[in-house]
Symmetry: C2
Subunit: 330 residues, 2 copies
DNA sequence: TTGTAAGCGTTATCAG
DNA sequence: CTGATAACGCTTACAA
């Protein structure tokens, strides 16, 4: 528990010199530096970062707000954020909001009380921006009307790409398993779905959209509802994330429907489990790691005042065709 | 950016009173309290936690060291930790070590430099305890020789339970897909496997153990190796976690083996995807949330000096039979 | 019940 | 290049 003063005394220099030796070694004479380092080693001294942060009025910490950490896609994004943050000398505070407004507020308080320098939001809450605009906030998984600074893929085009693929396979009745209706991602992806239909001259049929909430269980339920109908049953399901697609695959299995022979299923995200479903999931790969890195850089640049102009980062997605999609049944 | 002094001035009291009004409201006269609160509201004052932490020489933060955040089991444990930590007024710093010694060290530095008050380890590194024993460290997913304080299930018995189940189903050639050989969990679970075999009067056959590293891909590969043999092929695979089991299921599928008719597969962890595999995975449910909560309490109690005697928490597991296991083929 | 005042360990300013 | 010293915002004896 030695402090900078003891180091100074032992090294026979002033505390200012010790401080400099640590933060700006180039500004101190080599001989002095050596003495200081010897003293530090001797005392096994560790600078007290609590004091440093207080003095500099900076936490060197950022908060990551995630709706559900155990979703494998978010976990990957966060890993990348943490990686980059650490490289740049920051720590990451975890804020699993469980989609609760209250918990979200309490995480934002961390910034207000100086325990964190900024926030990375993983949900695209375009609706409810942090009230206090002093709070530095960037979005890592944005959508069309997510305010800058933010990182996103073109969700509309990605969804369109998926649906065009299904159309090209001959599907005409394409069900949708959507996230919550007012979720911005749901909106964007539904928009892409509609665009593809319209371009193919097909009418949008609202009853083919089943609302879920991006969880496995909700995907299973939604698929059950869509597949329950006797006549005009969908021959394909466009699921707005992989988790719900996995749920849908399960539903198909329990209903005795063969995928992709009788039913095609698509996902979104390309989580690590996607290649391991049965059959492997056709899906949109979001560049999760790149998104995390980009969001971290965006935020840290702003925290360090060197905000670039690149405030809206749109990264490329990749459409990956695996085994869960096939020609529409005869 | 108002500070406690301004609040004091506006309220017409001393800074000490404002401080007390915030931390020990019961020690201040109701009338005074009201004045202070009015001033706080008026100025929209937020206490500077950086200063508070510095003054109290406490970070009110804990580090969670996780080998791989994107593993769904760990994510669930961490969620629970974060939840409990927040309830008790602490924040959680994320430390994804990616199984790297270097990164682990750098996370422990956070405690040494006072940025965190303690550490929760999610890997059971019984071998390499933090060198500096001033560091408060608890293990959330321990195994037989994980040092206390720690939380764990009885891995040996759980593994034995699984294998007994397979034996009861008539399996005699039970392959093992193990984690890295020197991983403590691998050891415990292999021990349980051997115990079950011995109790059934069967010999342990080393060539039936394939080493993986707890990832999906390694499970797939290991299963391929085990199932490649022509004669005396295993009729069941005991996988040491769900991810590898999912990989094994995929391997079986690509080899045209029907599960469970021709091959039984078991997992470990009961991650959220386990009920959604095809067929749904028979597995050991670890009480991930309870483990997280217990670990958090263990650590926070020690940080706050009221360390109980309950230093070694062993929680009950649950063996869940789903569809991936069945009678041994004729 | 409230006020006074002494720090906590660092960094930054300024003079030497 | 180095040293003296004044903050930073808060908590907490201790005194009143």
């Amino acid at each position: 528990m030695s402090n900078i003063r003891e180091v100074a005394r032992l090294a026979g220099v002033s505390v200012a010199t010790v401080s400099r030796a640590l933060s700006h070694p180039e500004k101190v004479a080599p001989a002095t530096l050596e003495k200081v380092q010897a003293a530090i080693a001797e005392l096994d001294y560790r600078p007290n970062m609590l004091a440093r942060n207080f003095r500099q009025a900076r936490a060197f910490a950022i908060v990551v707000l995630v709706p559900d950490l155990s979703n494998s896609f978010f976990a990957t994004v966060i890993r990348a954020i943490e990686d980059r943050a650490q490289q740049r000398g920051y720590v990451v505070l975890l804020g699993d909001t469980r989609d609760s407004r209250v918990r979200e507020r309490s995480c934002l308080r961390l910034v207000e009380t100086r325990l964190a320098d900024g926030v990375i939001q993983l949900s695209p809450h375009a609706t409810a921006h942090p009230d206090r605009d002093e709070i530095l906030c960037v979005y890592a998984c944005g959508c069309e009307n997510t305010p800058a600074p933010s990182v996103r893929i073109d969700n509309v085009r990605a969804a369109r790409t998926v649906v065009e693929h299904l159309l090209a396979l001959g599907h005409r009745r394409i069900g949708v398993i959507s996230g919550l209706r007012d979720n911005p991602h749901s909106r964007d992806r539904l928009k892409g779905y509609k665009q593809a239909l319209r371009a193919a001259g097909l009418a949008f049929e609202p009853s083919w959209v089943a609302e879920g909430d991006f969880t496995l269980a909700s995907g299973l339920e939604a698929a059950r509802r869509l597949l329950a109908r006797r006549e005009a049953r969908p021959t394909a399901l466009f699921c707005m994330n992989d988790e719900m697609a996995i749920g849908a695959l399960r539903a198909a299995k329990t209903l005795g429907l063969e995928v992709p022979k009788q039913l095609s299923v698509t996902g979104f995200d390309d989580i690590r489990y996607a290649p391991y479903t049965d059959p492997p999931l056709t899906t949109v790969a979001q560049p999760a790691e790149a998104m995390g890195r980009a969001a971290a850089d965006l935020l840290l640049d702003r925290i360090e005042q060197r905000a670039g102009d690149n405030e809206l980062v749109v990264l490329p997605f990749e459409f990956i065709v695996r085994g869960s999609t096939g020609p529409a049944p005869g």
